[in-house]
């Protein structure tokens, strides 16, 4: 019993990778890996606090990547799901990966591999949704601004997409749920936190932060959206399947429906 431990880390992805490094190096029998903000002491196990170390984290990252590049992507994406117990699941996945000679990550008949794959897939889907559903509104300060409220922490995953797409305009994408955002200043993307007075969803009510031209374009877009429907083929169920209702309040074309 003595050697089984709960590892406590700072909640960052690098912290998590450091925890994996320490567990391997000190041959710890890990019973759980927890964020320091939510840690719970187990009855029969000790805890060990992990101090994030970029060097160690990098070694783990590179180690996994050299095994398989799709495995490292799966781990990063699945981690972003913030789902309960994901750390332990991923730790087991990594152990499996290093124990086997090769391509263990493609053993879809294994429960852990399948579960990690599913988590990564749902995070990937949310990432793709955000690339689609972000709706910028042009502020009077000439910044394209959008609020989002994704199911998972996908901001770090969509940064590159928006940076290469909107290279010649300033933009902010702000996660209302997790209270941080990305700001692109025409040079680089920075992580920011704002003291937002209100959530700028796409409501019918106008905000003084945006100019009249902004609302004219929203109006045009709304009109366009309406004229794309073919009445004799209406299929509301399919529509909400593709655009789930929880995203509607940030979509300018759905503002009348909300």
């Amino acid at each position: 019993m003595n050697d089984s431990k709960i590892l406590i880390y700072d909640g960052s992805f690098n912290g998590f990778l450091t925890a994996i490094f320490v567990a391997f190096e000190e041959k710890i029998k890990v019973t759980d890996i927890q964020k320091n903000s939510v840690s719970q002491n187990g009855l029969f196990s000790d805890t060990e606090t992990i101090f994030t170390n970029i060097e160690k984290a990098k070694r783990v990252w590179n180690g996994i990547q050299s095994k398989s590049s799709s495995a490292i992507k799966n781990i990063y994406f699945a981690y972003m799901s913030e789902s309960k117990g994901v750390e332990l699941l991923l730790y087991r996945y990594v152990r499996k990966l290093f124990a086997a000679p090769s391509s263990e990550h493609s053993d879809y008949s294994d429960g852990i591999v399948l579960k990690v794959g599913q988590l990564a897939k749902s995070v990937g889907r949310e990432k793709h949704r955000m690339e689609a559903f972000v709706r910028f509104q042009l502020t009077k300060d000439d910044v394209y601004f959008a609020n989002i409220e994704p199911d998972f922490d996908v901001l770090p995953l969509i940064s590159k997409h928006f940076r290469s797409r909107y290279a010649d305009q300033q933009w902010i994408i702000y996660d209302v749920k997790r209270k941080y955002g990305l700001f692109y200043d025409l040079e680089r993307v920075e992580i920011i936190s704002l003291d937002l007075q209100e959530v700028y969803s796409n409501s019918i009510k106008r905000s003084s932060a945006f100019g009249t031209q902004e609302y004219d374009y929203q109006d045009l877009w709304n009109n366009y959206f309406k004229s794309t429907h073919i009445k004799s083929r209406i299929n509301k169920k399919l529509h909400t399947q593709h655009v789930p209702k929880r995203y509607w309040k940030y979509l300018s074309e759905k503002k009348e429906a909300v």
């Binding site: 399948l114 689609a132 290279a167 045009l220 429907h229 083929r233 593709h242």
Partner: protein, 420 residues
């Protein structure tokens, strides 16, 4: 610019463009290297969905809905009494850029009614694309409609700015075309297609020698056929689709169930139902041909000129060819696995990866996500449980239909009663 006026035009010209099915925005390789606006190097994105469930990815509009032709199946035909409008070139450019900057769209899909002549119309479409690329440094996706009858020189220029080009043949058979679009010749459609195909081939050859050869329509060309307007069989439609895939190296052929828009005795009456189920079956067939290694003759031939309505085309084929089955999941090759009803390409890949580690049984297959409801009648795995030996095709079909629900089920429920 007056927003009210633009709004009116947009309503008229978007409404007329919505019957074009294609909204694909993938397959291009235009990266944002000039610190300009936009990037279309990744996968396509559907930014929203219409209430009929189709993807909204591009700003799909007509340059104008004035037209000199009178094709019976078309809303913008000359004899139709509707409001007409036309965009100025700069108006289309402004709309595209401002929608794109707000992340509403992936780019522009520009089509047009034909005014004055084919070349005069095409010139204006090309001018919009050129302005977007050269003046606005726009790297988003541009899909231009090739106007039937356009000269080769203009088609060449179009390909330099557009990611995709398309001509809709609309009517799958030449006799149908004569009936519904008497002013148009079959050659008017195929000439721009041939030009685009040849230019793409030439571009690929030249690019091998000179890497900086300007891109030519990197997302290829596509076409569209109307289904159910002239009484053609599924066989005629799919044989003609196969012809276009092969002869013109089409990226896609789209099938569009005819939406009755005119009171014309050559066409299905107003108010008749859009053949959505049939459209769905044709797309399934299209996928089997492009990704699953099927030949069109296997699925449609003189004995089976039409697809089954109550089962998907792969299941239909399997039921007619029971002597190929059952196959062993743990040994069969990829192509044979792909022919099992209920196994998609994703499942096939997962099975092939997973069976290197252990013999697969029903439990494994279920977790992988195989539609066992259909698949179990056609395969064996590492399990003694396989009790469906020597069943008749009709029995298998009855069992499968009895255990599943389909969204189109009500359309053939009378047939289902036979099995109950």
């Amino acid at each position: 610019m007056s927003f009210e006026r633009i709004k009116q035009k947009l309503n008229i010209l978007a409404d007329a463009a919505k019957y074009d099915v294609s909204c694909s925005s993938s397959g291009s390789k235009r990266t944002n290297t000039n610190k300009g606006l936009g990037d279309s190097s990744g996968m396509g994105i559907c930014h929203s969905y219409t209430e009929d469930g189709r993807c909204v990815s591009l700003l799909k509009i007509l340059m104008t809905n004035y037209c000199i032709y009178d094709c019976a199946y078309c809303v913008t035909r000359k004899s139709n009494d509707i409001k007409r409008a036309a965009f100025k070139i700069q108006e289309v450019v402004d709309l595209t850029i401002n929608f794109y900057r707000r992340n509403y769209i992936e780019g522009l899909f520009l089509s047009s009614g034909i005014f004055k002549s084919a070349d005069y119309t095409m010139e204006r479409l090309v001018a919009v694309a050129k302005k977007l690329r050269a003046e606005e440094r726009f790297n988003g996706y541009i899909h231009l409609k090739s106007i039937p009858g356009t000269s080769d020189e203009l088609m060449y220029e179009a390909g330099l700015y557009a990611d995709r080009l398309s001509v809709n043949i609309e009517i799958p058979t030449i006799s149908g075309l004569k009936l519904l679009a008497p002013d148009k010749k079959h050659e008017d459609f195929t000439r721009p297609m041939t030009k685009v195909k040849n230019e793409i081939i030439q571009f690929r050859a030249e690019q091998k020698v000179i890497k900086s050869t300007p891109k030519f329509a990197p997302a290829g060309q596509s076409t569209q056929m109307i289904i159910g307007a002239t009484g053609e069989s599924d066989k005629e439609i799919m044989y003609s689709a196969t012809y276009y895939y092969k002869k013109y190296q089409m990226k896609r052929v789209y099938y569009s169930g005819y939406v009755p828009i005119a009171d014309d005795r050559r066409l299905p009456a107003l108010g008749s139902q859009v053949p959505m189920l049939r459209e769905n079956r044709l797309y399934q067939t299209d996928w089997l041909l492009r990704f699953y290694g099927f030949q069109v003759q296997e699925l449609l031939n003189d004995r089976h000129p039409n697809l089954d309505i109550d089962v998907d085309p792969k299941l239909g084929w399997a039921l007619r060819n029971l002597d190929f089955f059952p196959i062993d999941v743990n040994t069969a090759d990829k192509l044979m696995l792909a022919r099992v009803p209920g196994l998609g390409i994703q499942s096939v890949h997962k099975i092939v990866s997973a069976r290197r580690f252990r013999k697969l049984n029903w439990e494994h297959l279920k977790k992988i996500g195989v539609a066992l409801n259909r698949a179990k009648y056609f395969m064996v795995c590492d399990s003694a449980r396989w009790e469906h030996r020597d069943l008749e095709a009709s029995t298998i079909k009855g069992k499968i239909l009895g255990n599943s629900v389909g969204k189109f089920r009500k359309e053939y429920s009378t047939q289902l009663k036979l099995f109950a």
